[in-house]
């Protein structure tokens, strides 16, 4: 079954306390790491234009903001 593009739950689950960069077309993870600028530069070096960045918290929990 084709995964829905708005569903990031399985893609992000394995990351913890780091920045994660996604490809804008298919939302695949293209780079991750602790240092924001390094991760962004890594994605650009891979030829990803307009990357999407998000942060993986130490532990994905429920939020009440």
């Amino acid at each position: 079954m084709k995964a829905r593009l708005n569903d990031l739950s399985s893609k992000l689950q394995k990351y913890s306390d780091e920045w994660v960069v996604l490809s804008p077309n298919d939302l695949k993870v293209v780079a991750s790491g602790k240092n924001f600028n390094n991760v962004m530069d890594k994605a650009i070096e891979k030829g990803i234009s307009n990357p999407i960045v998000t942060r993986a918290p130490k532990n994905y929990g429920a939020y009440i903001l």
Partner: protein, 144 residues
Amino acid sequence: MNFRYRKFPLNPKENPNFKRKSSLRPIIQIDFETKKGNFSYLVLIDSGADFCVFHGEIGERLGFDVTKGDELTFHGTSGEAQKAYFHNVSFKIGGIEHKAYIGFSYEMKSLPYGILGQDGFFDKWRIRFEYDKENIELKEVINS
């Protein structure tokens, strides 16, 4: 314009009484143009937030000397005081230029995305949350 709700992970080990492995949230993508290249950032539309606050690292990438901005002390549900530093920021929402006074904070590492709150977002857009359809409708407020 319409955006899809996004599903983010929920760690079942942290919440053993709840069977859910994910949570559906009103999170949209905003788009920045910078000298280092364009990039996008995920942000939660949060009607309970007084202001818009993004991660400090985003501000640095945009070229701001983050802590030189106007300082605000804000509080989450724990009541713990956090600092944000405000700057005038431009970005696009669905291709539409948006300008707002945005806070940047280095004390939101436990949050996966930025926050779009009342000042700087809800004052400029009408928002319809349609959880059952997993849809968010945004209409720009046109001041006559």
